[in-house]
Symmetry: C2
Subunit: 268 residues, 2 copies
């Protein structure tokens, strides 16, 4: 009773804030904060190894309460865009081999275990984008791309044949030397050297017969059924970073897809 009768400085302030907020934009404040933080991350200015501004700092910057900032950050955590650690801070989600394996690496041995493949780079070349690559990378046909063909060995055997194309314009100064001698995953390289964080991928899977090249590299008969997928990897703002076509010999390995259940280790 007492509380509800009193207009109070606090109530008045809240009201004026609400009014101000509405003038900003149609979006709720926490979503706008999310967008701003996303923009900050996609600018490449923040490195994956140094913390983002703290909740308090963001709150001051956006004239919001900590709770509202937290709401925005919670969403970004759920989307695997940032990671937070109590006592340390908030970081752009890194591309350690471990994280890549857990998030963007769908190939498992049939017994369910996973392993980091050994990569043999068969080709590193500069080419002109064909129609498929141009459409996937949203560039013009004929624009320069790097083409990289990798053979991936798992358990000592050739299992996957990977044909990757990335736009030359996105990777200035990339050379075969610097590519081969990278000390991280390909996605880690994109992020650490070029500020391009892969945040989502779209895989399209089909069954195909092995062509001559695949049969040779994967040591299977010509025409043997393989699992093929094309992947487009995107960074912020739905910008495509990489176009890849992969062939998998699924005798001992398979492609796994868990719908739901990724975000539910919390069934603890």
């Amino acid at each position: 009773m007492k509380a509800s009768k009193k207009p109070s400085a606090r109530r008045m302030r809240a009201r004026s804030i609400a009014r101000r907020r509405r003038t900003g934009n149609g979006l709720p404040l926490y979503k706008r904060i999310k967008l701003e933080v996303t923009r900050l991350l996609s600018s490449g200015k923040s490195k994956a190894d140094e913390p983002l501004p703290t909740e308090k700092e963001f709150a001051a910057k956006f004239r919001a309460s900590v709770g509202t900032v937290r709401r925005a950050m919670d969403d970004l955590v759920a989307e695997h865009i940032v990671v937070r650690q109590q006592g340390r801070g908030t970081y752009l989600a890194p591309f350690s081999a471990e994280r890549l394996l857990n998030r963007f690496w769908p190939v498992h041995r049939k017994d369910g275990t996973r392993e980091i493949p050994i990569v043999q780079t068969l080709l590193f070349a500069t080419e002109r984008a064909d129609a498929a690559a141009a459409e996937a990378l949203q560039i013009r046909k004929g624009d320069g791309v790097y083409r990289i063909v990798n053979l991936l060995l798992m358990g000592g055997n050739p299992v996957m044949l990977d044909d990757v194309r990335i736009a030359k314009a996105d990777f200035p100064g990339l050379t075969e030397q610097s590519f081969i001698s990278r000390e991280t995953t390909m996605y880690g390289l994109y992020q650490s050297r070029y500020g391009l964080s892969v945040i989502r991928t779209l895989d399209r899977l089909t069954g195909v017969p092995a062509d001559a090249e695949a049969a040779h590299r994967l040591a299977v008969p010509l025409g043997a059924p393989l699992l093929a997928f094309t992947r487009i990897a995107y960074t912020f703002g739905d910008k495509p970073v990489e176009y890849r076509r992969t062939l998998i010999h699924t005798a001992a390995y398979e492609y796994r897809n868990a719908i739901g259940g990724e975000s539910l280790p919390a069934v603890t």
Copy 2:
């Protein structure tokens, strides 16, 4: 200053509550609420077409604040287990054809569009579980299962051949008649008639050659490369509900998997 000096009834109360909480369990309160709500949903007592208790009611029941209940429900929404509607209430996520298509139906036409397939049931039989089905369904080899074989037509053509096994014990009273004449999807039937809500699936994909049956049904040459996947569908508590093996003719259709990006339509 002034505020921080005063112990205040409120502060004392908060302290005693915190102490009580710690006695409950090692888990944070919102996670325990999540578990309790999950338990309620998995009991089958709550129908998909009637609302769950409101936030206020849950708060009273669990002696928590609405904010804490909301935290728990937010998680369940993110996991697609419940849906909330402003002004209406909170509901167990339903299995409309639309939702099934968006969540558990990975097959797209190559141009990206989706369609609801026409289902021809080729077989409905009672069988004994073989080793693979028994392991997947976590029952004993030889236990009774229903086996259902469906041919799925898309765009007028046979595209998928579906071989499903579900434990007889989970579906008392299921008959071919009641199965065929269902007015919803298979997952919808599981949920509405048997209280089994599929909340996650695990698909394992490989490339395989068409065997005689598949070649006949899908109208492809013997040995033609097909996309195969086995799926185990789980309900609450990681209980398997369904084991399925599907063959897809990927001339005009493909299996799509979007990693990330499902929960980010919010990039609006």
